[in-house]
């Protein structure tokens, strides 16, 4: 799968309270969540994000709470992929479980700027910055996680397990 989009840039330790503040957690409707995504970090984000856009961030993206509302809000906002230097672990597993593509790549996270255009090959973990021409290689996923992604997330995976 090749993803193409314009980047939004965020720093280190972007926490789940920034991604989706708890004051909006009285619902789990992805559309309502998306309307407040990243609100406390960049109030313009939810209004200006376009389908396919890519989030690029530094270390420890998604730290804090286990709320799946965070990757759900990002996904429903139209973000096609999150590239970060590192992810907080619960966010990481939540993203895989719900089928939000993510890539860990410190080099790309360090250099890519806001508004640049990227082309991402998920299977290969290859990130091409078409604005600057630079190419980055993210670490590939272990086999089990590739299976999880191929199944379309954890629920289809569990369903196939229960049927056999």
């Amino acid at each position: 799968m090749v993803l193409k989009g314009r980047t939004w840039r965020f720093g280190d330790d972007i926490d789940t309270d920034v991604i989706i503040p708890a004051r909006y957690l009285n619902t789990s409707d992805p559309k309502e969540l998306a309307a407040h995504c990243m609100e406390d970090a960049d109030p313009e984000f939810a209004r200006q994000v376009r389908p396919g856009d890519i989030v690029v961030a530094g270390n420890n993206f998604g730290c804090g709470s286990s709320r799946e509302h965070a990757p759900l809000a990002i996904k429903a906002a139209g973000i096609s992929c999150v590239v970060a230097a590192t992810f907080a672990r619960i966010f990481y597993r939540n993203a895989l479980n719900i089928g939000l593509p993510i890539l860990e790549c410190p080099a790309a996270a360090g250099e890519i700027k806001a508004g640049e255009e990227l082309e991402i090959n998920l299977e290969e973990g290859k990130i091409i910055n078409t604005t600057t021409g630079k190419v980055y290689q993210a670490a590939p996923f272990p086999k089990f996680m590739r299976e999880l992604i191929a199944a379309g997330g954890l629920i289809p995976y569990v369903r196939s397990r229960l049927n056999c």
Partner: protein, 422 residues
Amino acid sequence: MTITEKILAAHAGKQEVKPGELINARVDLVLGNDITAPVAIKEFARIGVDKVFDPEAIALVPDHFTPNKDIKSAEQAKMVREFAKKYGIVHYFEVGKMGIEHCLLPEQGLVGPGDLVIGADSHTCTYGALGAFSTGVGSTDMAAGMALGEVWLKVPPSIRFHYYGTLPPWVGGKDLILYTIGRIGVDGALYSAMEFTGETVAALTMDDRFTMANMAIEAGAKNGIFPVDEKTLAYIDGRLKRPHKVYASDPEAEYAKEYEFDVSRLEPQVALPHLPENARPVSEITDVRIDQVVIGSCTNGRMKDLREAAQLLKGRRVHPEVRLIVIPGTQEIYLQALKEGLITDFIEAGGVVSTPTCGPCLGGYMGILAHGERAVATTNRNFVGRMGHPESEVYLAGPAVAAASAVKGRIAHPEEVSGNGA
């Protein structure tokens, strides 16, 4: 192997596991709350099974926005209630019986040493205080866990934190963990197990240990865990209804890193906005004026915390420009505090006491901060907007500093209120 590796191996049906290995592990308990369970319930419906793997091994605790603060949150709680009824969930805690999940589950004897617990709440790591492996997961994991009784996990490398020295007066578990996170950073234990050892830890009360394990996630850890000793066994005695198994790290167990801290001169700690890693000795920041103090949460809403706060507040008055909010962690704690006269102390000092709820800890309700306001809170996160307005500030501290600050109207060392010594 470390204690974490041994518990994971036992639950994966293996002799041995190594850090980095992906395993499928059997779970002893699956937890969800009124925010995360509704999402899990929707996902559970998508799986298409007609029963949960074990109605006794699921705990549903509506605690974040209950008693419900608005219509939307009431709808979410209703969804959890109906699910519990439909699937015969034994450990569903209705308003009146509920408490903050991570205070409640150990108290009710639902977790014991050697258990593997997953919870759709990041502070599920709290039960490591009992020598259990427990970790926060997402709602989809919770749904899969309820259906299968299993979870996929990557075996974490373990980092050992060894503490020695006798703690000075007014210094407790919260100060130890804030200091530790201050030293290693909010991603200092990313993907890892934090194992807490040493003579200082052995001398800690169970309540202090719960506080420390609770905040392992604040260093990015997968779990925090303590050795099981006579205090652990005394705590579970009469509570835990299931058999348990005690695991211990081998002397030759391998650690990714080891830290040693001499804490004999540790001062009470305060973490400045907006990250738990911004820990400082309290004496460095006593000029910060505050508007609100919150004493409670899954970090510091237990008996030891309330007793410590009451010790400083009894017979004193909360500063006229400060609002003090005290929230006991569970109904049992509330009742005990009532019997000991602590509730009277809080109210006579000018504080309010709330029924158990997460409430202000996550900026839900019962004490939201306005623009520019500052709070000292015994909670665990001081992220931007965590307790209300994005331009409000939260300073994290233990109950003693929180109570002293409430009296002084600014961040204060407990000794400023108590006089020297305890």
